[in-house]
């Protein structure tokens, strides 16, 4: 337990010192949120019967999760692996499971900070209200965090070198965001893309978040979304374990 806490502390300390990580996980989503907020914030999107910002906030939350869960995880892991850090650690009694759990908990911690930050900006600057249950809201985010982290770790097995880590994870990032109903509502997509979009975990995460934040829906409405996100998590976890590479 002490080792695990030490590991989380070390990961967090390293994170705070890496300017690119700080930029992508904290500054970038906040910048996005504020920019969109000032441009479209109070516009009423009549088609949806909601303000633009109410549509966007859940999307930016999912984007923040994706940055941390996929980009930071896959790129960071591929780099540390290529440097031989895991090889050096394998000579110590540190268990690999502790190393991975430490990374996951550290990322979850980052996600918690991201969400609180974005939520505060939404509430204070743009008068966003969470209509539904806060616990349910966190449950969705936690499901989302685990899902995107498992995609991130699955990618590390498929990525050969640190050089290819960035283009691969950025591509996945864009597919998940643009086809996942984060910035573009999925109902304007052509049919074949809409079908594809409907299979993505980010689509269901955003849907579930919007349902809880805007409509105040309960678990009865969103359980199908959570099921699909959970399915992705298990599938990617399987892939991650199957293709995991330490060196």
């Amino acid at each position: 337990m002490k080792v695990l806490l030490g590991q989380i502390a070390a990961e967090t300390k390293l994170f705070l010192r890496r300017k690119d990580d700080l930029f992508w996980t904290l500054a970038f989503p906040v910048f996005f949120m504020v920019l969109y907020g000032f441009i479209y914030g109070d516009q009423m999107w009549e088609d949806y019967g909601m303000r633009a910002i109410d549509f966007l906030l859940p999307g930016v939350l999912v984007m923040a999760l994706t940055v941390t869960g996929i980009m930071a995880t896959a790129i960071g892991f591929a780099e540390e692996r290529e440097k031989g850090i895991y090889r050096r650690l394998s000579l110590t009694p540190l268990k690999r499971s502790i190393l991975i759990i430490g990374q996951i908990l550290h990322r979850y911690l980052v996600i918690v900070v991201q969400v609180i930050l974005l939520l505060l900006i939404g509430i204070l600057a743009f008068e966003v209200k969470i209509a539904g249950n806060y616990l349910l809201f966190w449950l969705i985010l936690t499901f989302g965090a685990m899902c995107l982290l498992s995609i991130g770790f699955a990618l590390t097995g498929l990525i050969r070198s640190a050089r290819s880590a960035t283009p691969i994870s950025v591509s996945v990032f864009f597919i998940l965001l643009f086809l996942g109903g984060i910035f573009i509502p999925t109902n304007i997509l052509p049919v074949f893309l809409a079908r594809f979009s409907n299979a993505l975990p980010t689509t269901h995460l955003a849907d579930a978040l919007r349902a809880v934040i805007i409509s105040g829906s309960g678990i009865g409405t969103i359980w199908k979304d959570l099921l699909i996100v959970g399915g992705w998590t298990l599938a990617c976890l399987g892939l991650a374990i199957r293709f995991f590479r330490w060196e």
Binding site: G6, R18, I85, L91, T92
Partner: protein, 306 residues
């Protein structure tokens, strides 16, 4: 004396290539044992099997009475390893990374003590990313020492270092030797092995081809040392007559002569005695004792090979 590391019939294959071929040796407590060999000879593969990084195809390894193949996690607690190149996180301070590693072990030494041992005390607040190659190697040594290991593995610890940094590393190893640490060192610098190791094993193409103290290896090798000197032409005949008992003397250009001998120190003493008794005027004396490097080259072949 008791053996701390016992390796028996260790073999490792990569496809057709037998990287390590039936290697056996044992290392006593407090001994510094050097594994020497050309690049690709199998020395790193051998130590990495003892460290638990690679699985041997056959053979047995025992460290402090523990079967390293059956209980690798117990072995990790009691060994320290400096890899050929150790990379660790960049954005971390020297002190922090030593503390982090200390936390991985059931018992660990105080950070200050370790940093003092590797002369890094004044760098304790520096970020790893700012350290020079020599300092990074010393940090790697610190990380290997963090658990006060029973056996310390140093894999080519000074490869690529400048002469100062190399002397620094040697002095750290000398201090550890003084404290009775058992050390396994791989190197292809013969000077390093002669300086540090009580016993060396020379490994070539996966096999150990010689194993003894550096002194014995050279003495038993039949390699010749040489003493060279100048002698004015009018004294040459007298000199050659008087010195005939020392060894084979060959004539070079410019009135230079070379004595070839397998018993270097006896030949030197004789030369000094005979020349002073006979008032021989020998000038510009230079000598060259056979070194571990000569032996190494004679055993592993001087030609480059693939």
């Amino acid at each position: 004396m008791s053996a701390v590391v016992i390796v028996k019939h260790l073999t490792k294959r990569y496809g057709q290539l037998v990287a390590v071929n039936d290697v056996s040796f044992s290392i006593e407590k407090g001994e510094i044992f050097g594994l020497l060999g050309p690049n690709g000879a199998g020395k790193t593969t051998t130590v990495e099997m003892i460290e638990g990084l690679r699985k041997p195809d056959s053979g047995s390894i025992e460290v402090c009475g523990i079967d390293a193949l059956k209980e690798p996690s117990k072995i990790k607690e009691i060994i320290g390893v400096q890899l050929q190149t150790t990379t660790i996180y960049d954005q971390i301070r020297v002190r922090e990374v030593v503390e982090l590693f200390g936390g991985y072990y059931q018992k660990s030494l105080p950070t200050n003590q370790i940093l003092e041992e590797v002369y890094l005390t004044d760098k304790k607040d520096s970020f790893v990313s700012t350290l020079s190659g020599g300092l990074k190697q010393r940090l790697a040594m610190a990380l290997a020492l963090v658990n006060d290991p029973e056996v310390l593995f140093l894999d080519e610890p000074t490869t690529g270092l400048d002469p100062q940094a190399r002397r620094n590393s040697w002095s750290i190893v000398e201090n550890l030797k003084g404290r009775g640490k058992t050390i396994i060192l791989t190197t292809h610098y013969m000077e390093e092995a002669e300086q540090l190791c009580q016993r060396v094993g020379i490994i070539d193409q996966g096999r150990i081809i010689a194993m003894d103290t550096p002194g014995n290896l050279i003495a038993n090798s039949g390699l010749e040392s040489t003493v060279e000197f100048s002698c004015v032409p009018e004294e040459q005949d007298r000199m050659l007559q008087r010195l005939a008992g020392i060894g084979k003397i060959s004539r070079q250009e410019n009135n230079r002569f070379v004595v070839h001998t397998k018993e270097f120190s006896r030949a030197l003493q004789e030369l000094a005695r005979v020349s002073s008794e006979n008032d021989l005027n020998l000038k510009n004396i230079t000598m060259r004792e056979a070194t571990l490097e000569d032996l190494f080259l004679s055993l592993t072949g001087e030609k480059l090979r693939d």
